[in-house]
């Protein structure tokens, strides 16, 4: 029943009518998750939302680079196979395309039902989320049973774990900076949370997930950040809503439409998304100078609530290719953080708080495997970028896609598997 013959690394068979792809395509592309609509210029505008081509992630792009040489001899040849078929057979092929349209409709319906199932389980999780929040805030007393279950879980992870001493009695005790700590143990978020942000995020008391109502025009979800009163802004709630397009994409997954964030009501001079600088101004008439305080945008976690807008599809504005790429990267990063909050941080916040979640993020690789790419890394591609030392506004391109820029690095779950 078992075999020692590797089936994975066979010879690349010679091009034949059957195996000659109509276009170059690596097997690297197999990701299925809510996708980012493709906005790069050289693609034809999609006729229909459901025809959006899911863009490659950075990881896929790297893979593609690696296989491109191998497939070079197969690229761009039309097989001519279908053209060679008789008219009756061509009709059968055409009919199969017609049947596929119905299959795709069912797939769309399936994804909608997946979303309903997600909602159902969110409701089932809610009492547990509320209990979690009560313990974090100190409003609720940890029970013996909960502590015992937690100890058992810790012992399962680490047999040498030392259980807490059993006191006669314990008092409710809030966990300070729980959510700030959890967020900072997510590598992507740790990079965008500045020290200034941390001051405000200490007041973050809960992060909640909800879904848009089933009858809303576009499906989607909302991440709600709950704050206690703080010195930085008036809002008690900051929301980020992610909308999917109505139709699933070609791969059978939802495609992100856009994200919407709460307008933050910053208190006087407390806007963390701005840096202020003093500039001299000279009055042309009087020739007298005065000092003026100027605000300029700066990096901050709170820019998360002012997400980039996808370019309008119907308006034919001339946009620079590089700007489009930059926008696409920013959108991808924005969607990725939303996904991670929804899929990982909210469901397993305690594991982010303790750092356990990080241990499960694929650490079983040999360091040896990376020697060459590590050297690659030393070209300074990933040096820290210090915005303060730049004269320009901090608007610059990240590492090119496909080279491992952080915006493209994390790839993530899809809604529900297509069938």
């Amino acid at each position: 029943m078992s075999s020692n013959v590797p089936i994975a690394h066979g010879d690349l068979t010679a091009p034949t009518p059957q195996n000659t792809p109509l276009t170059q395509a690596p097997i690297a592309a197999g990701l299925s998750r809510p996708t980012v609509p493709d906005i790069s210029e050289d693609n034809e505008p999609a006729e229909d939302e459901s025809d959006e081509i899911p863009p490659m992630t950075g990881a896929q792009a790297v893979m593609m680079g690696l296989v491109q040489g191998r497939l070079a001899d197969l690229v761009g040849k039309s097989s001519g196979y279908i053209e060679s078929l008789s008219n009756d057979v061509k009709k059968s092929v055409e009919a199969l395309k017609g049947v596929q349209v119905k299959q795709n409709e069912l797939q769309n319906q399936y994804k909608r039902e997946c979303l309903e199932l997600e909602k159902k389980y969110l409701e089932l999780q809610k009492p547990l989320y509320e209990r979690r929040n009560a313990i974090i805030s100190g409003a609720g007393q940890a029970t013996e049973e909960e502590i015992e279950a937690g100890t058992q879980a810790s012992l399962k992870d680490d047999p040498d774990y030392t259980p807490l001493p059993k006191d006669a009695e314990s008092t409710p005790a809030a966990i300070p900076e729980f959510w700030l700590t959890a967020l900072r143990n997510h590598i992507g978020l740790s990079e965008i949370i500045t020290e200034r942000d941390a001051g405000a995020l200490k007041s973050l008391t809960d992060i909640r997930l909800s879904y848009l109502p089933s009858d809303s025009p576009k499906p989607g979800f909302k991440i709600t950040f709950v704050f206690s009163p703080n010195d930085f802004f008036e809002n008690e709630i900051l929301d980020k809503t992610y909308l999917y397009q109505e139709e699933v994409g070609y791969s059978g997954d939802f495609v992100y439409d856009r994200a919407i964030g709460t307008d933050i009501k910053w208190k006087e001079e407390k806007d963390l998304t701005k840096e202020f600088e003093i500039k001299k101004q000279r009055n042309k008439n009087t020739n007298r100078t005065r000092l003026v305080r100027k605000a300029r945008p700066t990096e901050s976690f709170f820019n998360f609530f002012s997400p980039p807008s996808p370019p309008a599809e119907d308006i034919d504005v001339e946009i620079d290719e590089e700007e489009l790429e930059e926008l696409e990267e920013k959108l991808e990063m924005d969607y990725q953080i939303g996904e991670d909050l929804k899929e990982k941080i909210i469901p397993r916040a305690i594991d982010y708080f303790t750092g356990k979640a990080l241990e499960y993020e694929g650490m079983d690789e040999d360091d040896d495997d990376f020697d060459e790419l590590d050297e690659d890394d030393e070209d300074g591609q990933f040096d820290d970028e210090d915005s303060d030392s730049e004269v320009e506004l901090p608007r610059r391109r990240g590492p090119p896609k496909g080279r491992g820029g952080s915006s493209a690095a994390a790839v993530n779950p899809e809604e529900c598997k297509q069938q």
Copy 2:
């Protein structure tokens, strides 16, 4: 509402109690899909199936290499933050771990229900799959409506598409080599289907998906290959069954347990998974030589039905680290092909037949992005391997993981999104 400030590429903040990860972890790792259990030696044996660490895909590994340098200064430091908390707060933390156990149980239940939803929609798709099969085999006549719907779909993809001429009448017409053509338009499969295999795969008349019954000990699915009588083997059906472990893994996704394939009853001298060679043998006593026909394993698509067995966890057999890695690669490739058949080829066979599916596999990247890695490629890592020229049995390592070996290249959907 929109902002020009890139939030993605901020400075890496200095290590603090909050942001210092307990272990190195790249943001690259965010994949969620049925995972391959980790079998490499230097990991502690999992105490429980649900604690399996999902292994990194090749893509993640590449990303990890790229970010490693950047995170180097954060690696391996314990934050000491949790240790510094008071005993009462530690109890709250412990209680949260206890609450998380219940959340994980719900997640497990959720995934089971996702699987039931998949089954429900497979049933809904069945009449369409049967209709598809009737058209492919020529048993059914393509209707005007189907042809028209197909033409509309083609025109949506390509406004310049030329519809078929409308004859007065058409006759049912089977599509020759439909499934062979579809399989060979999947890049991963095209690499393992040899010319010899193609002879047998011409008799492949259908590929079907089914699920294991809900009351079976392990959940899973089955891919059924239906053949017409052929010169190669007696079986009319070749099955490949994939089993998931009972408990979902840490990421909230099913973890593959193992795969089982049909024993192929090869006709005399027709075994495509073997190559025969003539060897001279000398009789030690008589000193006379004779010619002996020896079989040795060779690469073939049909090895897909003799999948590698994961090593038994409870038996402490000494296994070479390199052998384990090789086994892990082969398992990953085997699971990947099963996933792709289930998720992509069966649901959209017509698109693989025409090649349309390939156009959607992430082709929107600039070639320029790959210059450096293309050069990398030229070190011969991805040269075709020619088994015939080797004296050894064709048992060798593929490209190392994390460098884009085909076994690790394709990353794929998960069952159902966790919530």
